[in-house]
Amino acid sequence: MPLKILVTAKRVEDPESKIKVKPDGTGIVTEGVNYKMNPFDEIAVEEGLRLKEKHGGEVIVASIGNDKSMTEIRAALAMGADRGILVKHDGPLDPVVVSAILDKVLEKEKPDVVLLGKQSIDDDQNQVGQYLAERRGLGQGTFASKVESLESEAEQKKQPGIGLAADGKSVRVVREVDGGLVTVDVSLPAIVTCDLRLNKPRFASLPGIMKAKKKPVEEIAAASLGLDLAPKVVVKKLSEPPKRQGGLKVADVPELYAKLKGEAKVL
């Protein structure tokens, strides 16, 4: 059964970048910071592509942001997604607003499966998939993982970690939770949020990058959707966490043991 799959691609600071807070606490220093697709969204894109490769269908990539987010949409198209949707919005967003916008996108596109990163590595909120599922009255398979190791042969064969039921009415999601793995069957249309160990995202090939330039991307103004776009999670102030006083070296194991026992008193 061909699947219509919608995936998300948020533009975030490169996780390897050094993040510093502006002296006035109104934001972070953006000079010298690289941007890329949220790593959890890359996993969502990869999973979408694998589902399509197995079952047929279409992968649509959606992003919300200013023109710069087109880079992340093109990156997903270069990986193999079929078309893009950029909901244009300048200014701060939060999970309440993002889920409201995605709700509108889902209303229009009616995908069978929606794959999102479980969280974005900038705000670290881990909320959008859950809000979206509740808004639409759908089931949620959060923190989707894979039973096999990412080093396994099955992974090398690029099989999706999410299984489509034989009757095509639900997907089986293995969720990574505290103390183990929970398996659930989520009825279609399903909302799935992707954890680290669902797959290893592919790199875009050069022909993929060339093709991506010609793939269609629809632009929608967020302001045209008739939504309240004011964030409800209002960031008042940012600051740097207190620095840890570390850096002391010990010469050998006996000294380490003596310090832990006598000075730190933790043994």
Binding site: P95, P241, L256, A264
Partner: protein, 322 residues
């Protein structure tokens, strides 16, 4: 009003300790708003637990039904949202566990509430509570205001003390009707990762290994057992399949703050540091003197872990005898 509703997490009638930390966070808010703390307890056969929880001076709303045996956000959220309304709660929260992170946003969406994730503490003045939370893998602390009438949150258990037993509260039976067949999701199975060691987030000592172990965790497991410690690992070690997923410490894994954290063969990627830098004492054992973990460690030992860890175990054993 300004009442607070905390969602309890349990498994087979046994409370997850993180809930007690969430209750104390709830008590901190209630102290500011002049409200009361209510607890939503959903499950199958949770009667005894409801009585136990009431001992913390809270009103427990127990929804006891066979349909709640296996947690599903889709089944729990409507019940919790109704309890929030009925108890006059303007704050709804839980611990930032997989359960809390899955459920709270769904409850919040029903209540038109915004949510603050992984809250470390509260700010603001009087009843106007703001939330301190980490962003960018803990490299930034944010103070956020939730501009909705009802405010939802998950708290990081290591940042709040466990609630203490107090004046006896009360237990109220809550409506517990659930039609599992009508839900858009079905529970299939839970595969528990069993371990004799303490849980990572609750252990007094954590022994963690990374790429430097080259997949050989034997000595680290031995050290963990000698110390009654939990075992942890970096993402690299988990991705390589050397240890189970749920041992991962870091931004996307578990956040721990034990009294002693021993990092062996761990270079100290920021995503890993985000999960352990709240530890009281950090020991780093690494061959590479330039490893970033040393900047953070209280005691750094530049050494091969396969030599240093057995030696440390000998010392500990000898010390126990004396």
């Amino acid at each position: 009003m300004g009442n607070v509703l905390i969602i309890a997490e349990q498994s087979g009638g046994h409370l997850k300790k993180a809930t007690l930390h969430a209750i104390s966070a709830g008590q901190a808010i209630a102290g500011r708003t002049g409200g009361k703390v209510h607890v939503a307890l959903l499950g199958k056969g949770v009667g005894a637990l409801a009585t136990e929880l009431a001992g913390y001076g809270v009103t427990v709303h127990a929804a006891d039904a066979a349909g709640f045996e296996h947690y599903l956000a889709e089944a729990f959220a409507p019940v919790v949202a109704e309890l929030a309304k009925a108890s006059g709660a303007t704050y709804v929260g839980a611990a930032a566990t997989a359960f809390g992170k899955d459920l709270v946003p769904r409850v919040a969406a029903r209540l038109g509430a915004a949510t603050a994730t992984e809250v470390l503490g509260f700010g603001g003045a009087g009843p106007a509570v703001t939330f301190h939370r980490p962003m960018w893998a803990g490299n930034v602390l944010a103070e956020v205001d939730l501009a909705t009438p009802v405010k939802a949150f998950t708290i990081r258990p290591t940042e709040f003390p466990a609630a203490q037993k107090g004046a006896a509260g009360e237990v109220k039976a809550a409506a517990a009707a659930v039609d599992l067949a009508a839900l858009p999701v079905r529970f299939v199975e839970f595969k528990e990762v069993k371990s004799e060691r303490p849980e990572l987030t609750e252990a007094r000592i954590v022994v963690s290994g990374g790429r430097g172990t080259k997949g050989d965790f034997k000595e680290l497991e031995g050290l963990a057992d000698d110390l009654g410690a939990a075992l942890g690992a970096t993402r690299a070690a988990v991705d390589a399949g050397w240890v189970p997923n749920d041992l991962q410490v870091g931004q996307t894994g578990k956040v721990v703050a034990p009294e002693l954290y021993i990092a062996a063969g761990i270079s100290g990627a920021i995503q890993h540091l985000a999960g352990m830098k709240g530890s009281k004492v950090i020991v780093a054992i690494n061959k590479d003197p330039e490893a970033p973990i040393f900047q953070l460690a209280d005691y750094g030992l530049v050494a091969d872990l396969f030599k240093a860890v057995p030696e440390l175990r000998e010392k500990i054993k000898a010390g126990k005898g004396s």
